[in-house]
Symmetry: C2
């Protein structure tokens, strides 16, 4: 087994409730210095950016998605290609998300269900009892329709494990039920129990597959803590997963932004110190600070890439849109303080032109900037934990970043 995690420095006690730490995750495809931001390449490619460029901008690992790759090209094809990293020309560490979130959120129907929720109808009834027969969840698994062609599929904990073994990422996640903040307390209780039962089935299937595929690099399995905004459920979920002996943990599900640090804090108090913790789908600057100081080690988020393609950029003074007239004659970089390839080679006026001209390289260049911005921020957070300047970095960075909202 070539997976391990070692804790390095700890966040100074002066930060309230601090559980933050630095560390190193070792995988068969290399190490990840933590805290680390892991850019997302959902379909085995970071949209519009080549893998060498992702490496150049400081990405230590990439995260792809089991649901998307199962549907296209098929996890068997990725397996035949030598696994996710070989398939996508990324020699470093890889993660795959289990597909639990996507089968419910992208499987045909979920968005309709959410839309109905806004009328006050409980989504529990629709999702849990499957009245709409669009994304139907039961204690065995989830039946859903492909968002690509409407074809019917079924994911179970065992299926997700088989898919993720075929994909072959270094770090894979247990198949969980991802609830929303609109579900009832009663439903959240039942869901946490279901996620726990599924976690046990994932561990069992993972052990079988690991033995059967002993010629492949070891894949670390992370359990995913659910429980929404409820402290008792989050702690119960974490404790239950710890007993199953996972290699690490994901923190998933509904995370009210106001409570994000608090929830991560509850969970990390229950998790063993010597296992890495991944906060799923989180990547805004304030959330990264909150996550790190509450004990999370790694993060993934599509935001840097997604907002880039809609011409929005991160800067040290907040987010801006480059498709506005003010950018037309700005012959300076997006951000003078940024060290990315885009800021050191192109003006804002050029990027504005590329967006107006609907050119592919608009998305490429701004994604490079945004991913570098977030990766570098977490790199700076990591360094600040080691040299004892975390509190200063946080105050200075967030003060400036959010000043424009004041």
């Amino acid at each position: 087994m070539t997976f391990s995690f070692s804790v390095g420095d700890r966040l100074a006690d002066s930060v309230d409730g601090a559980q933050g730490r630095t560390g190193v995750i070792s995988t068969p495809h290399g190490d990840i210095a933590t805290p680390a931001f892991v850019p997302v390449g959902t379909k085995a490619t970071v949209k519009a950016v080549l893998p060498e460029t992702m490496s150049d901008l400081g990405s230590q690992a990439l995260l792809a998605n089991a649901y998307h790759l199962y549907l296209q090209p098929g996890s068997d094809i990725v397996d035949e290609a030598g696994g996710l990293g070989a398939f996508m020309n990324w020699p470093g560490p890889t993660f795959t998300d289990s597909g639990g979130f996507q089968v419910l959120s992208l499987g045909a129907g979920f968005r309709k269900v959410l839309a109905m929720d806004t009328t006050g109808r409980k989504s529990d009834d629709v999702i849990a009892e499957g009245k709409e027969r669009l994304a139907h969840i039961d204690d065995e698994g989830v039946t859903f329709k492909s968002h690509l062609d409407g074809s019917k599929h079924r994911f179970t904990p065992e299926v997700s494990m088989r898919i993720q073994h075929q994909l072959g990422a270094d770090i894979i996640f247990a198949f969980d039920e991802c609830t929303t903040l609109m579900n009832t307390r009663d439903y959240q209780e039942r869901s946490v129990d279901r996620t726990q039962a599924w976690a046990a089935r994932c561990v069992a299937e993972h052990e079988l597959l690991t033995a059967a595929r002993a010629d492949k690099p070891y894949q670390a399995l992370f359990g995913v803590v659910q429980g929404a905004q409820y402290e008792d459920l989050r702690r119960q979920s974490a404790r239950g997963l710890v007993e199953l002996g996972f290699d690490g943990f994901g923190i998933g599900g509904a995370l009210d932004k106001e409570l994000l640090g608090t929830i991560v804090g509850w969970v990390c108090e229950e998790l063993p110190e010597d296992k890495p913790r991944h906060l799923l789908g989180i990547g805004e600057p304030d959330d990264l600070f909150a996550g790190v100081e509450s004990g999370a080690d790694t993060f993934d988020c599509v935001s840097p890439s997604r907002v880039a393609r809609s011409s929005r950029v991160y800067t040290y003074d907040g987010q801006r849109n480059l498709a506005v007239a003010a950018s037309r004659r700005s012959f300076a970089p997006i951000d003078e303080e940024c060290d990315c390839y885009t800021c050191t080679h192109y003006t804002e006026a050029y990027l504005h032109h590329l967006f107006k001209a609907k050119e592919y390289n608009a998305g490429t260049l701004v994604t490079i900037h945004n991913e570098r911005f977030i990766v570098r921020l977490v790199d700076r957070i990591r360094a600040s934990i080691s040299d004892g300047t975390y509190a200063e970095l946080k105050a200075e960075f967030l003060g400036r970043y959010y000043a424009s909202r004041a």
Copy 2:
């Protein structure tokens, strides 16, 4: 003046009617070893590929378009940015096409005019007399509507020169009338006279602008030979332009594929040996061989990039489409003999997946392959002229490339 051209080796006499040669074009932004293929970055960007990547794949120069850049972002903005090369982060030599072709082909209405032509109606009547008032040509210039927003604009030889001086490419082209093979002989005669008159106006305006902008790098002006498929008109056009003292020559307009080598041959017989000749808009393998041996030195074409984005690739055994089922499990490169970044790092199965998933990097990776394929082909043609193996290269390459059609 820092523009020059020197002829190197000449094509062996054993090739019928051979006028082919190697050479070096020297510009303020570097040299171009000829024959050379010049990839197109119409809007100051090669679609989906970054400039360093274009350099890595062997591109010695890039060609952008005056019409497109005039409309967006505006040639004044490119000028303020330090010129085309600085704007697009391409330190090497640059060309701009005059916009003569685009104002007629992309200006609102031309496609409708062409559609009418297929009914047998003479396009002369429509284009020349401007009955449709969509793209109206007269002896002074062309009035057209933007293909972007329908706004009305007017290009004259003087306007084209001013735009191209603001864009600041190393090699710029005189504003010409680009006719079609469907125009009448009578119309072609009048058009050649008009292009000649416009060429003289371009030279005069170019001299004024060169003097007025003496702080800028010298821009070489190429006259564009027209005359469609008529030998007397082509020779007349070439002789007329030679008298105007251009730095080099473009060969443009309607080129029947069967007659391409013949037409280029007529023109090059009239052109001085010591000036470079650019064949506009040509880039298919057989056309490149025909062009080189008939005396053309440089070539540009959007094809490698355009066909790439529709999932078609060049290979040594002809063109193929990667979006077909046969590519799904092909874990080999597009072409084992290709040395490009894509072929040395990715399988056809991965590229197939990217096209199916509608991912940006599909276009990026296949454009890299196709541009490398054509750039390398012309590099091999250049080497074969020097070492006396041109005839063998042509026979072997074209024999294999077109075998699939047999």
